[in-house]
Symmetry: C2
Subunit: 148 residues, 2 copies
Amino acid sequence: MQVSSNNGLQSSECDTIGLGDKLRDAGLRPTRQRLSLAHLLFSQGNRHVSAEALHEEAIIARIPVSLATVYNTLHQFNEAGLLRAVAVESSKTYFDTNTSDHHHFFIESENRVVDVPASHITVTDLPEPPEGKEIARVDVIVRLRDKS
Amino acid sequence: MQVSSNNGLQSSECDTIGLGDKLRDAGLRPTRQRLSLAHLLFSQGNRHVSAEALHEEAIIARIPVSLATVYNTLHQFNEAGLLRAVAVESSKTYFDTNTSDHHHFFIESENRVVDVPASHITVTDLPEPPEGKEIARVDVIVRLRDKS
DNA sequence: ATTTGTGCAAATCGTTTGCATCTGA
DNA sequence: TCAGATGCAAACGATTTGCACAAAT
């Protein structure tokens, strides 16, 4: 839960070096705002953020970045495989920093996405995909409601 | 007025009488536009429609109905359990006329939702829901991409 | 210097809402 | 009658886009 980020310049190459390479490898220029956002996203364990939430976080951390850039960045990260957009029936889009094979709870009352605890859920008996298609991935959403 | 509130008779492609009862049972007044939309929705087998698509269909079928009413109606049907909103990562909301327990393909290249052929897909090893929550339902989305 | 990213505001898109007008029971 | 439905247009929230400016290579 460390939040304080050096606003902008990162002369200390501790973990921003890794991020820089990560971005470069993904074909993205390691700019200030991309590095900052990447830091917010990837240095706090697995997260599920909306663009708006990340933007607010950035502002609070005194990282000057516009909402448009946050959207751009999230999509670029998503396409680069650094993030994963989660499919939930909600007006907003959520991005998951955990790109490994796993599934989600969706808490209806809070509009919140949570990882399903490790390695639970097994999907078997998958159907044949239609002609000319292949399975890109399988998403399981366990929708939770408040116990009545 | 007819008195039946049984569930035995399903109207797939019959008259609007069955639909009228269906709506009445759901606590919805069987108005012209609701009956017409219900007819479009339920007399053609299982469908996955967006509000806009259904609206266009209605216009083409010379059923005068506003887009706002289509939205209202879809949501009312959804809450009444006559339809099911499908969670896909897409800007639009899709409604499924098949309310039974089943799962979906999502064809990325066409932004289209399709039922998974009967009774395929088994989900096991479901996790314990967090304290105070219960599982409302489990959705599986098999995302398909064009075979490369 | 050239290319790519960024910020801002305006534009878009899907969806919702306010309100005056209709309609079905 | 009269609560409940409908249509329209304006309002809305999330996301995108156009373009001038700034930063990275």
